[in-house]
């Protein structure tokens, strides 16, 4: 105790006084607006429209959503202008989604991405998406059944990515593809439909600019090529002749639905100069629905089905890859496989942009129906 008094006590006192006095600026929940969604769009020449969806917590426990929009040349400048129009300080720590308007996507997203990456306040796990049409009217229109727009859009994107109905688009993944000299990225497209919002498609980018779009149902094909998946669902229209004349005569296709899809893909370079790739996808699934009254417990019928599924998937995946080659957007990251498997590849953006449209991919799908339901 004696020692403490003579030497340590003054220090402890100073330390505690400093801790009490020298605090940083406090953020009190009732006095801030939490920006949950920010949208950027381009108006006119170089003017950036920033729209923020904010949530304010009131002392009477009712939270309300607020939408503010402004134009300026930098996003921080936009934030400052929005600040002038709100009664509470804006914080972006709870930001979940950043949306880009179509005009901005045509102009290029590079600078916006850098800004998001530079900020330490914004997490790398937030989602990016593109909005079809004008962003301001998309956000400012009155959605009757959506009380909290920011949270709604976040959950819409998140659960669809989890179920592999949309391409994953966290800031980290997008900037990773953006910086990886040999890949391009894809963003989900959001669209307003009457009083609702839906994911309407996939936007393909090349060097930061939008070059093409695919429909939303192609997302799973893209996912299958990009990554191993373990929880997918899809509907396929097989030719009506697959199972002979057992099928219902009125429809043009034999529709099947598969779920619990586990797929494993392998990509190997077979020819370095062309380049040519072999893409093999192994697919285990459950037959969930089949619009036919045929009894599917015979091994022969299952085999026929598998064969047709393989054919159908191969053609669909080929179509998607071909489209991406037409618009020169390597969203499947074939370039990274090329770099990984070819020594001293010395890839750069230009070289791969020239090679990618010439690329040839041999797609092989090996589907296996493991089980169907509890009733045959």
């Amino acid at each position: 105790m004696k020692k403490l008094n003579t030497f340590k006590l003054p220090f402890l006192l100073i330390a505690s006084v400093m801790l009490l006095v020298g605090c940083t600026e406090p953020h009190i929940l009732e006095r801030i607006s939490l920006a949950t969604l920010i949208g950027y769009d381009l108006t006119g020449e170089d003017e950036l429209t920033t729209t923020a969806v904010m949530r304010q917590i009131n002392p009477d426990l009712e939270s309300k959503t607020l939408i503010q929009s402004t134009t300026s040349s930098t996003s921080k400048g936009g934030r400052k202008k929005i600040e002038l129009a709100t009664s509470k300080e804006i914080t972006t720590g709870q930001l979940r989604v950043v949306l880009f308007g179509e005009e901005l996507a045509k102009y290029g997203l590079d600078y916006r991405l850098r800004t998001i990456m530079m900020s330490s306040e914004i997490s790398n796990a937030i989602y990016l998406a593109m909005v079809e049409g004008d962003l301001k009217s998309f956000l400012e229109s009155d959605y009757k059944d959506i009380p909290n727009l920011g949270q709604h859009i976040f959950q819409l994107i998140e659960h669809n990515i989890e179920q592999q109905n949309a391409v994953s688009s966290t800031v980290h993944e997008i900037s990773r593809d953006d910086f990886s000299r040999v890949a391009s990225y894809a963003l989900p497209i959001l669209k307003k439909e009457k009083d609702d919002i839906k994911i309407s498609g996939i936007a393909l980018f090349h060097k930061g600019k939008i070059v093409g779009t695919l429909s939303a149902k192609d997302a799973f094909y893209i996912q299958m090529v990009r990554d191993n998946s373990d929880n997918g669902t899809m509907e396929l229209n097989l030719p009506i002749t697959t199972l002979g004349d057992h099928s219902l005569s009125s429809s043009k296709y034999l529709s099947v639905a598969l779920d619990s899809i586990r797929s494993k893909r392998r990509i190997t370079v077979v020819d370095q100069t062309l380049p040519e790739f072999n893409l093999t996808i192994h697919l285990d699934c459950r037959l969930y629905e089949i619009i036919s009254n045929v009894n599917i417990d015979e091994a022969e019928i299952i085999q026929k089905l598998e064969k047709e599924i393989n054919k159908k998937l191969e053609s669909e995946i080929k179509r998607v890859i071909q489209y991406s080659q037409e618009v020169n957007s390597d969203i499947f990251r074939f370039g990274e496989y090329y770099e990984a498997q070819v020594r001293n590849a010395n890839m750069d953006v230009e070289k791969w942009s020239e090679m990618y449209p010439e690329m040839k991919v041999n797609v092989t799908v090996k589907a296996k129906i493991l089980r169907d339901g509890v009733f045959q």
């Binding site: 030497f7 340590k8 220090f11 402890l12 100073i14 330390a15 400093m18 801790l19 020298g22 940083t24 600026e25 720590g93 709870q94 330490s120 997490s123 790398n124 796990a125 966290t170 980290h172 993944e173 900037s175 990773r176 593809d177 953006d178 910086f179 990886s180 000299r181 890949a183 990251r333 990274e336 496989y337 770099e339 990984a340 498997q341 070819v342 020594r343 001293n344």
Partner: protein
């Protein structure tokens, strides 16, 4: 010639504790962002650079022990004095003390920068520095045993970091590591050189040696500690280089922290903020050990009490911290420190061993004649 350093038995500690001391001394602020520096040179083979740098560290530890074993129980400062005489020996000691001060300074500066960038942009840098200095003064005056206690706790409390680093594996792409050995050997060596800033810390054994109870066992534990930190760094490097794509990693300043920012736990939105604040417990042993090491050298030159020393030392650091403010200055200073550390830690022991061997031989000859 070989006058042993007198150490009070109550101040000594058991050899196994060296494991925690060396690990705690090595893991510090470097972990936040060492990846991008190595990647810049060694590219996809950055992990090979790390292995090479640790092999070098093992060799240096081996040599430091060889030097220490030439003397019964003496530290590196005593050995310098013995080999080079009073004046030049003290000069070399002063260089080593300055090195300790620089290391201390670099740690505080970098940690302060991280706090200011990630957690509290508007917090005064002087305040953070002062708080850190006060904690170190408090721990330092407790003596060596308290410092070792801090090392022990720092080691065990930081075990959660490898576990949370498992979350980003979801985003890993193994393609970023292939093909192995794509970079040429020179670039890999350059990458290993840039590891210096992150790997230093083990040199503390030169000062700690006289305080180890079982001197014969000491070396084993130091090597084992090096192996543990190697595993830790390799693990981080593997996760980082599969997580980021090439240029993205080069542009990321604190790769480990960016890596953590993707994690979203149900009860915790931003793991990296907690980790940064927690990092103070990880850098505390570094700071204490360097201050202590500087003190051990300083009392050879001027007889001074622990309290006076740490007060003057802290005051100097506090004043020196003012001119260095921007990120670029800190980066430059880090590089400068890296090269100083490289020569003092990786080159100087080889030289010292050489001199010590010659001197030993000369004395034997003299002894034979006389």
């Amino acid at each position: 010639m070989k006058k042993a350093l007198q150490v009070n038995p109550t101040q000594m500690f058991n050899a196994p504790l060296l494991l925690f001391i060396i690990c705690a001394a090595q893991i510090g602020v470097g972990v936040h962002g060492f990846q991008s520096f190595i990647y810049e040179h060694a590219k996809k083979d950055a992990w090979i650079s790390i292995i090479i740098s640790f092999l070098a560290a093992h060799i240096i530890v081996f040599i430091i022990f060889k030097i220490l074993q030439l003397y019964d129980s003496n530290d590196i400062y005593g050995i310098n004095l013995d080999l080079f005489g009073k004046y030049f020996g003290n000069f070399v000691n002063l260089a080593l003390i300055t090195y300790c001060g620089l290391a201390y300074f670099v740690i505080i500066k970098n940690y302060r920068e991280v706090i200011n960038t990630w957690v509290f942009p508007d917090l005064s840098p002087a305040f953070i520095t002062a708080i850190l200095l006060i904690i170190v003064i408090y721990a330092f005056t407790g003596g060596l045993r308290v410092i070792i206690g801090i090392c022990f706790f720092s080691f065990f409390l930081s075990l959660f970091i490898p576990i949370i680093l498992l979350f980003p594996i979801e985003y890993s792409r193994i393609n970023y590591l292939l093909p192995i050995l794509d970079s040429d050997f020179i670039s890999i060596l350059k990458g290993a050189y840039y590891m210096t800033f992150t790997i230093v810390g083990f040199e503390i054994i030169g000062t700690l040696y006289p305080f180890v109870k079982e001197k014969k066992k000491a070396q084993k534990y130091v090597h084992f500690a090096l192996f543990l930190t190697l595993m830790f760094y390799l693990f981080i490097m593997f996760i980082t280089s599969t997580f980021f794509s090439g240029e993205q990693l080069e542009r990321t300043i604190w790769a480990t922290l960016s890596l953590l920012s993707i994690i979203r736990l149900p009860f915790l939105e931003r793991v990296e903020i907690i980790t940064i604040c927690f990092w103070m417990i990880i850098i505390l042993p570094n700071l204490c050990l360097y201050a202590w090491s500087a003190y051990r050298g300083f009392i050879r030159i001027i007889d001074i009490t622990e309290k006076k020393f740490i007060l003057i030392f802290s005051l100097l650091i506090f004043i020196a911290a003012f001119p260095l403010q921007t990120r670029i200055q800190i980066e430059k200073f880090n590089n400068f420190f890296g090269s100083v550390a490289f020569y003092l830690i990786f080159v100087y022991p080889l030289f010292l061993y050489f001199i010590a061997l010659i001197k030993k031989k000369m004395f034997r000859k003299k002894g034979g004649k006389g």
